[in-house]
């Protein structure tokens, strides 16, 4: 019971701070838009090619903006040694991890819900027939990425150049999550091999479980000073 109360307390505090400053969600959204626009310039937006690349563009936009959001969320705790104040409380360190993952997933999901319609319009995609499945895939991919990212952003926030360090740690390790999320999205959007996407979704669930469990177990070693 106390554990739940503590998770909610951290979560409520993070959301409140984000509502006041809005810097995480705004910077993520702007960055995601820029990625989409840049892809429109680098590929020819009028050809069929851009539709084939759409799942890739979507995930690149989400992951790169997610990276920015993750590094912001811990930089905030770093000012004034705020994290120490939380660590002084009688709270299991893994609960902090859970609260932070949930918070990051919420922020990234909000950005996705803004980006997705924009992409559908810009790239002229038809997603109506697979919308529920697509949302599930987006959630699972985000969960895995935020699960690894929360641990790594705690690490990178305590290094000398945190903005550089986070993507260098995060992207190579997240290859399995990135790959399966992109593939399941691609099969869903292609409209042909829905069955194929299901096996990728299963794989994605498996990767999420593995990464979340291992990060959960190791979190206390990186958060403590």
């Amino acid at each position: 019971m106390i554990a739940l109360k503590q998770i909610l307390a951290i979560l409520r505090k993070d959301i409140l701070l984000e509502l006041r400053s809005k810097d995480i969600i705004v910077s993520m959204c702007v960055f995601a838009f820029i990625v989409v626009i840049v892809f429109n310039f680098t590929f020819d937006p009028t050809t069929q090619q851009i539709k084939i690349s759409a799942p890739g563009i979507l995930w690149v936009a989400l992951l790169f903006s997610g990276n920015i959001g993750l590094s912001r969320s811990f930089a905030r705790e770093q000012e004034n040694s705020m994290m120490q104040g939380v660590l002084l409380c009688p709270v299991d360190r893994s609960l902090i991890y859970i609260a932070k993952v949930i918070g990051n997933v919420i922020f990234m999901t909000i950005v996705q819900l803004i980006i997705l319609p924009v992409m559908v319009i810009l790239l002229d995609l038809s997603i109506g027939h697979v919308l529920p499945q697509l949302l599930v895939v987006l959630f699972l991919g985000t969960l895995g990425f935020a699960g690894i990212g929360t641990l790594f952003s705690t690490i990178s926030a305590n290094t000398k150049s945190r903005e550089v360090m986070l993507p260098i740690l995060l992207f190579p390790v997240s290859v399995p999550v990135i790959l399966s999320a992109t593939k399941s999205t691609a099969y869903l959007l292609s409209g042909k091999d829905i069955g194929q996407s299901l096996s990728w979704i299963k794989l994605l669930v498996g990767f999420d479980v593995i990464f979340l469990v291992i990060c959960f177990l190791l979190y206390e070693y990186v958060i403590e000073e």
């Binding site: 503590q6 409520r12 040694s81 120490q84 104040g85 002084l88 409380c89 009688p90 403590e224």
Partner: protein, 228 residues
């Protein structure tokens, strides 16, 4: 109340603490003196269960730290030169957050009572960012004692305060001393330590070189201990 048993903290060839032992009784006001790098911060971090000692153990009210760090965290309140307050949240929101983290019963009444006590009741809905340093430190004291700890650790609490603010904070702390709270203060200010505390520890290169219970030590003797 607090017993330190042979506390060591080292990593490879670097030794921050080389076997610190002490026993502080209930209601004692102890000052911990030492130059930068003597190991004060490390010791405070270990007592407040932020860092694990390499060797040794801390026992607070009969509870060993290594066995149950969360119970120790509940018994200890920490106020430092960092306020641990969120600038974008109001005084009340900050206390509410920490109150929930400590699972404080009757949190609302407790917050009302504390805000009156530290004389910030009129500012309770204002963002902490707009507070002066002195007000922030007073709120930080309220945060530290929100969960009725048995022991209060004060880590350079007066850093960056003007004379008035320091006096206000000192008076508040004294209220708690007379209420029987055990206090461990780290400071650079020898005079302050002599004037207010009953017992003085001098930490040097990771060792407790002096434990002066009687208060017989003079300012110069302490300064000499610190400088050499």
């Amino acid at each position: 109340m607090i017993t330190a048993q042979n506390i060591r903290k080292s990593f490879g060839h670097a030794h921050a603490l080389k076997g610190v032992n002490f026993h502080i009784k209930k209601g004692e006001y102890v000052s911990l003196l030492g130059i930068n790098g003597a190991g004060k911060t490390t010791l405070i971090r270990i007592i407040s269960a932020l860092t694990k000692p390499t060797e040794g153990n801390i026992i607070v009210s009969g509870v060993p730290l290594k066995k149950n760090p969360n119970l120790i965290r509940r018994l200890i309140g920490v106020m430092s030169h960092f306020t641990f307050l969120y600038g974008d949240m109001s005084a009340e929101e900050n206390l509410k957050f920490y109150g929930n983290m400590y699972n404080v019963p009757d949190l609302h009444d407790k917050i009302d009572q504390l805000l009156v006590k530290v004389n910030l009741n009129t500012r309770r809905y204002d963002l902490v960012r707009t507070f002066s340093r002195g007000m922030q430190q007073r709120l930080s004291l309220a945060r530290a004692i929100l969960h009725d700890p048995h022991i209060l650790l004060l880590d350079e609490p007066f850093a960056g305060l003007d004379v008035n603010a320091e006096k206000l904070l000192t008076d508040l702390i004294h209220d708690y001393v007379s209420g029987g709270m055990t206090i461990l203060l780290t400071t650079h200010d020898i005079n302050y330590a002599l004037r207010h505390s009953q017992r003085i520890f001098v930490l040097k290169e990771g060792e407790l070189v002096k434990d002066d219970v009687s208060g017989a030590l003079t300012r110069n003797e302490i300064a000499e201990l610190l400088s050499v």
